[in-house]
Symmetry: D2
Subunit: 362 residues, 4 copies
């Protein structure tokens, strides 16, 4: 197991979907941070199901209770533990998930990895529900960054084939980031939002699901942060993002498209903008040689469509080794991209705090 | 700085492009591994410049000398150190790289990060030359994997807009991987290779450069390896790949394209193939819930075009803050994708060994 | 902060003495371990106050509630979180601890380290109460070791100047270890126990406190476990033991006394005992070159007397910088050695499990 | 293997006694440190054999060659690699060390741990020679500390039963530390030195060896450095010191003796000294709750007598399982304490730098 991350600040996730509680311990968070619980609640709500009609109608309160590390609303410097008690605890028989593992879920490899001892109900520790404590941790880190003048925000870059207006990688608007930051379904372009909602609704009607891409931008970060090689901002952020369920691709700046460019086109030339050193393009997504170069950090994460669909699917009975079919009951998100976005942003916030601490900046 | 990686086996890279030597220490490598130095030389040669006409004609011997950890050609279990002495040591004046930083190079952020103390000659520790010790380490790990029946191989998936035949993600041919593994410019399709070489040659003629994508496959790995969340096979591999210069995107399986699929299309259904549990498609690239599922691991890395081009470029004089132009002299690769491929493969080999060690398999 | 430890298994402690709860997350614990809750309760009781008349009469229930990582009483492989809710929560004014810091407590340096933001009530995160989750983690690890035939046990080696019969380092009796393991005040020699109790009682009567030494032995561990240099069994165990409040010294085998021996006396000569390779003496405490040699591991930890004494003490008013006096009210242990013993044993159990996991043995 | 240490700065040791070279890579060392190579040479010489008549007459040049991370004598921020080429390379047959393992050496457990693949000549990676790169790293760190006004120095506290004047733990004299720092056999009291030399000479005459204790003091370090629990200054230093061959005990301040004190005697009371907060005694060795309290850090390490003695010893033939005798030829130190002292100091220097970096102070 490796449900912890961070080099200078450590985030340890625990819990199972239908266990007693899920939570996080953050060790190494700076002392003296006054927690804005309302701002944390906003982020928790963005991730929580039922707050937008594209997502599952299951209701989750998801109110994190702070167990330690905070006194009178201010961080003490001791490990910060926050917990969300599960109202929906284990019940029923999930043994069929062993015999007929759900396609593209962790059921089958997890059964081998943990020799059948892992908790299957609600996907146990593999559940998307475990991203709630990540959002809590990210919301705390977001406040630390804000005090340093750093803003992290994102939008739904695409759902299926429908694209939102992408960020202007050179001139990301901080105010727009702040506006996006409070939304349940963060899309810049109204028309795109409508189309995306249609795509999702159509998938739902077909008992199917659909994937998408999240795009996150970071403004206000100085040049010269990060480390080289395996401590690169890209290494650090990607390690974190691939820890979020459903992520299958991560790219920075022009990303995969940069591979089609020529150097003369891809190179981000320096010039003076408003008295500061800047680059005219930002194909490198604000990162050169693993270090920030003062331009906005731009990162995209591709998410696969929810594997839990109510459509009948072919699978295998791993006991009898004979073909079988599977219908996944229960209410599932036809699209998790909207709810995954605050998780992606949160992990970016956490990693940036960790990097800044490693660089002696916080 | 963070030129080290690994949780159970640690790889520590050191050296500068024009310093005395570059090298690597691998701590935690299993004892009793008989090193096949010829196989190591093959991998070193694939990365070395001058061995294929698409790359720079600079000659680098790149013969790693083993300093420790090996006795009579067999690993002892002590830290394995290998070093490559630099024939091309510091000379000349590189101070212009501070004043007029090369676009899309680390010059500018590195100067801030290290307050001007970093070695600039040949890009110092940021040089692509530092990938040579990674290839050495990867070549050792490749042998360890081979003994476990695991094959890692890759090809140039694309150069600019030209694509090679992609891997059949479900039925990757191990023999083809082995064939690709020994080539200097690993392309499956002969016609694609010719076109790629043309694209590169054209870029060279234009004093320009071009990027591309590497695709790597891993066969023979059992289901149930890896860890959850931030210990996921994807987190681990991406952390390593983004430590390789020029990588701007990493994806697994269908990668970014999976975001356009519906669940019913993306889901990899189980069935029995040759008496073993397999999936009919492999859009997840052999990884579910962070764990291997027994299907081939498929990973792609997007590389930006070499930023060093001999075309005149606009830049800034960071001292006078006035516009300037820059012509980068010297012989540079118009395309590094072919030489980067064995580096990408090597980092995959290293991470897989680390994962297997963490799982108690080696 | 660094309330986490472990290389292959990670133990993360959280909580404050008078906060909502204290607890631990153990990430990487093997799956399939059936927890013996009664055995855990025995260890918790040994550490809990009020269970022996030498300790403070405060009552702490200290019943750990398992939050995650266990299903039907068996570990799942997911992070194991256990929590103890505090009945004794914050109240009163502790600001005097800033102005007149208690001698030999963390008050003064903690105030500087955390800029006054740290929780002072009941010593906050610095409280000895935080050792309760360590004992829980250790009790789980003790069971894992037991299944491998490894027994960890200890006794109060000395209180003040009174010594118990030391362990026979060569022939530690496993049955005696098991007997000691269940006691609240683990002393081998009855007469020594009486004398120790007298020393403690006298200290109490004088409103004073007294220190002591714990001695722990490990039997049943094979030769060849551990790692070299900074991965030595000694490095690993000492790192853990110095994380326990009040520990000021750690030694192995003959420890400090070995410095007075000659080589011919100190060297542990090999011979055959009961058909197995053994040594005639065990001055190295079962560890050579950082590795176990098959002999019992012997480790001793020196604990300082409780700094909280009800006697009037001189201190400083750090605000006015004038001399002051301090009387610490409340009920405090005149001697923590008995209650610290299961904590010391627990950390040894945890580190041994971590080492065995790193060696691929569990 | 685990020949690396450090959380914010990583020290990776490599090499074998009779291999091509031994060395160290230090990753994360601050940039801009001007190396004083003469000061480094002084420390290397203190550890080198043959520089004092108490040590072995073998001559080792031990001149570290800097391979990377330094430009024009100043650290660049890239990994700093330094190497010492071995003049004394493998020769002869060491297989007898497998069959008749030397008492109290790593031979027997190492043979099991590495399944016979480890390098035996000159003890391979287990050799005391591997402490030379530790001293190099420590000498660099000593300079970093010096710039911060922190002085680390030590003396031979005892050899056998002969004691030097111990440090005045409250008022350690910085000038004396500097004076001790340059000596080959660092003893404060002249008469003690003579007696110690006699004890060593007598052991040599008897073909035997003798152990001792090193005491190290750190002055000039502010209150509030370090971390709690397993990040305590004591945990960090002890982990490092037990990585030094022959160390069997580590204690801070009054150490094991504090266990015999009453609280009223052990407690270090605050008062004002020269306008600064200080304590009247220093039984805690400058560390409270894991954090520095502004008083000198005092640490002692007990070293066992060299196990290599030329006296005939009983051992076992592990092949035939029959009793055997062993005579260890070659020239060996009758006492390593004097040469170990700079190693102990060096590891303290390294850990303090690591702690300061983690605290954002360097």
């Amino acid at each position: 197991m490796s449900s912890n991350i961070g080099r200078y600040i450590k985030m340890q996730i625990f819990g199972e979907s239908h266990g007693k509680a899920i939570g996080v311990v953050i060790d190494g968070i700076p002392h003296g941070i006054k927690l804005d619980m309302d701002a944390i609640a906003v982020q928790m709500a963005r991730r929580a199901p039922g707050n937008d009609k594209t997502s599952t109608p299951r209701k989750e309160a998801d109110i994190p209770e702070i167990i330690s590390g905070v006194l009178n609303g201010v961080t003490t410097g001791a490990p910060l533990c926050a917990m969300i008690v599960n109202s929906n605890t284990r019940s029923g028989d999930y043994s069929n998930l062993v015999d007929t593992p759900r396609p593209s879920h962790a059921d089958y490899p997890a059964n081998i990895r943990f020799n059948g001892y892992n908790d299957l109900s609600g996907s146990g520790h593999f559940s998307g529900r475990l991203t709630a404590p990540m959002v809590f941790a990210g919301a705390v880190c977001r406040q630390i960054l804000k005090e340093k003048g750093i803003t992290v925000g994102g939008h739904i870059y695409s759902i299926g084939e429908v694209k939102d207006t992408p960020f202007d990688m050179v001139n990301v608007d901080e105010n727009m980031l702040e506006w996006l930051n409070c939304r349940a379904f963060s899309v810049i372009d109204e028309k795109s939002e409508k189309e995306m909602r249609d795509v999702i609704e159509n998938a739902r009607m077909d008992c199917d699901s659909v994937g998408g891409v999240c795009e996150v931008a970071v403004t206000g970060i100085d040049a010269g942060n990060g480390d080289v090689m395996f401590g690169s901002v890209e290494s650090r952020i990607s390690e974190a993002l691939f820890g979020v369920p459903a992520v299958k691709g991560v790219e920075f700046g022009a990303g995969f498209d940069i591979s089609k460019m020529r150097g003369s086109e891809a190179n981000d030339c320096y010039y003076i903008k408003d008295g500061k050193i800047a680059t005219k393009s930002n194909n490198n997504g604000g990162i050169l040689g693993g270090l920030t170069n003062g331009m906005p950090i731009i990162v995209r994460a591709a998410l696969k469509p929810t594997p839990s669909i109510s459509k009948e699917q072919k699978t295998l009975n791993t006991k009898t080794l004979s073909d079988d079919t599977l219908i996944i009951n229960g209410r599932h998100d036809p699209c998790v991209v909207g709810r995954a976005l605050p998780v992606i942003e949160s992990m970016v916030c956490f990693i940036l705090c960790d990097i800044l601490k490693g660089n002696g900046k916080i």
